[in-house]
């Protein structure tokens, strides 16, 4: 009996995972290959510099710095504001001595994240 319950639950877990990976997280946003490559580069830089340590995207990450999911379209922040921080660092944020092309890639990635945040903005 116990084993049977476990098997049923485990099968449901596997099935549910597959549905989440596919139908549950479908996206309508499409990019050209060049744009996608630039976004991916930005994402990898975001990970390489461990930005998640201080910043959150969709609630994942640390709290020492501001949430960045909708930073791009935020009236008080936006692209120029983010570029300034990426270029020089801030009170708490170290200066990572990023090159301009790296800053461009990071901005592309954050712009894309902002575009996906439909429900986030609604609220």
């Amino acid at each position: 009996m116990k084993l049977a319950i476990f098997i049923v639950l485990f099968t449901a877990y596997i099935g549910y995972s597959v549905v989440v990976y596919t139908k549950g997280t479908k996206s309508d946003i499409n990019f050209s290959k060049t744009e996608q490559a630039q976004i991916n580069r930005g994402k990898l830089l975001f990970q390489q510099y461990n930005c998640t340590s201080c910043h959150q995207l969709y609630g994942l990450g640390g709290y020492l710095g501001p949430e960045l999911t909708t930073a791009y379209s935020d009236k008080n922040r936006g692209e120029t504001y983010m570029r300034a921080f990426l270029k020089n660092g801030g009170n708490r944020m170290p200066d990572f001595h990023l090159q301009d092309k790296d800053i461009d890639a990071l901005i592309s990635f954050l712009k894309y994240v902002d575009e996906t945040a439909v429900t986030y903005k609604k609220k």
Partner: protein, 472 residues
């Protein structure tokens, strides 16, 4: 439960278990040091900003604390396996292989963090290749667990189910959290974030299974009541927890624009935790009277404190699982309060109960000499944790209020400063309290037990009766 007459593996097992215990406690100590450094960076923004910024202290803290939980649980399981199965650990050298692999991986990860090499994913902030090595380091543990126990699940107690589930789901969720390496997951932000939350949420469930299983085993040994771990009610709550491990993660993704039914499933499953909450309230009187009766037993005292933190943390988790409230609490220090209540209040207290249960068995005399220290460590850490927890809640409320008034991040941080100070200063006392427990454990471990002193000159074969006496 037939023990072979020539079973003489307990001594080398003790050495390996001791090594694992010391390693686990070292992780906790280092986790506390880096946690405290990170806390200081909240109130003194320039503190080590260029030498060891929060970009490094946070992953160091997170890695150490998570590894403390897993390693202490594994150390306990290695120690309990012969008792539960009635046979020596299947692959003695495997324990040492596991130990050496883990030490090397940890050193590489720590050195990498100091040098600025990151994978940049929440919880798993080290470069992805090391995730593969972590997976491989678990292989000797998995072999030893299943080959020693040869579990018969029809009759096995609930903690064997929990340990097995913890192992299985750790391996599944660790693999799942690296799905982002494939373009199908990486190129779609919503998918990547959802799967990341899914994997991490269930990974927490996997370590909870290992830790709670250990807690139930220790409780069984202390009370001598073998019925509880085999009762229908225990299995009911096990399956309820398993369901939550598998499907509850979705409450983290209320703000992610994934399909609405993911949130609905998560919400419904989260609310089943009310059953656990209700059961704690119903059994409160019984729990309190049992705690009073066994208060002199230090591991039991730790289990009792863990019980209180289960109640507090579960109450907060239920509040955070309601979508309308989650909208406000998400992305605030209220989430951190929940994590701290769970990892320090519940996991660490349960694991320290296991550590002291083992140390008391191994070296009763030295354990008794350290009783007062251990007792004060328990009180200091738990009282300080309460202030720590409340200050995190308070700073979360400040953020909610600030966000509602369209305050800037800078202003919110400024208004939160008084609470950050309380959280840092109470963090110092959490450090002192747990530090006392850690150093007491080091002291007890450092003194050779009587059995070992007797047998250090030549190997001895024990009779079944002698083994039974040793185990008692």
């Amino acid at each position: 439960m037939n023990i072979a007459g020539n079973y003489n593996g307990s001594l080398s097992l003790n050495k390996a278990t001791r090594a694992f215990l010391l390693l686990a406690l070292s992780y906790l100590l280092l986790g506390l040091v880096f946690g405290l450094m990170g806390a200081f960076q909240y109130i003194f923004p320039e503190f080590l900003k260029d030498q060891l910024s929060f970009q490094k202290t946070r992953p160091l803290h997170v890695y150490m604390v998570i590894t403390w939980i897993f390693t202490a649980a594994q150390a306990g399981i290695y120690y309990y396996l012969p008792n539960v199965s009635g046979r020596p650990v299947y692959w003695q050298k495997g324990i040492w292989l596991h130990f050496i692999m883990q030490c090397i991986i940890s050193l590489v990860i720590i050195a990498g963090f100091f040098a600025g090499y990151f994978g940049g994913r929440e919880y798993l902030e080290f470069p992805p290749l090391l995730g593969l090595f972590i997976f491989l380091s678990w292989v000797p543990f998995v072999i030893n667990f299943f080959a020693t126990l040869r579990p018969k699940y029809k009759t096995a107690p609930v903690y064997v189910w929990m340990w097995s589930t913890g192992i299985l789901f750790f391996l599944i969720t660790l693999s799942e959290s690296y799905l982002w390496l494939f373009g199908f997951f990486r190129d779609n932000m919503v998918r990547d974030i959802t799967v990341q939350w899914k994997a991490l949420g269930s990974m927490v469930g996997s370590w909870n299974m290992l830790v709670y299983g250990t807690g139930i085993y220790v409780m069984e040994q202390l009370s001598g009541d073998k019925k509880v771990a085999r009762s229908n009610i225990s299995f009911f709550f096990y399956f309820l927890s398993l369901t939550n491990l598998m499907f509850n993660w979705g409450h983290h993704t209320y703000i992610v624009p994934a399909a609405p039914w993911i949130k609905m499933v998560a919400y419904i499953i989260s609310m089943t935790e009310l059953l656990i909450f209700g059961s704690i309230i119903l059994q409160w009187k019984k729990t309190v009277s049992a705690a009073r009766k066994n208060y002199n037993i230090l591991p039991y005292r730790l289990l009792s404190f863990a019980d209180i933190w289960v109640f507090i943390t579960l109450a907060l988790a239920l509040i955070m699982s309601v979508p309308a409230w989650n909208y406000f609490t998400h992305g605030t220090h209220i989430t951190v309060a929940h994590s701290m209540g769970a990892t320090i209040g519940i996991n660490t207290m349960l694991l320290m109960a296991s550590v002291f249960f083992i140390l008391k068995k191994e070296n009763t005399a030295t354990f008794q000499q350290n009783r007062k220290w251990i007792s004060s460590g328990i009180y200091i850490s738990n009282s300080a944790l309460l202030f720590f927890w409340i200050s995190l809640l308070a700073s979360g409320i400040v953020k909610i209020s600030g966000t509602q008034h369209n305050d800037t991040f800078f202003n919110i941080m400024l208004k939160s400063q008084p609470y950050f100070r309380i959280f840092t200063y109470s963090g110092i006392f959490v450090f002192i309290g747990l530090g006392i427990l850690i150093f007491s454990s080091f002291r007890i471990t450092a003194v050779k037990n009587q059995t070992e002193q007797m047998t250090s000159k030549k190997p001895v074969s024990f009779s079944t009766q002698q083994i039974a006496e040793l185990k008692d």
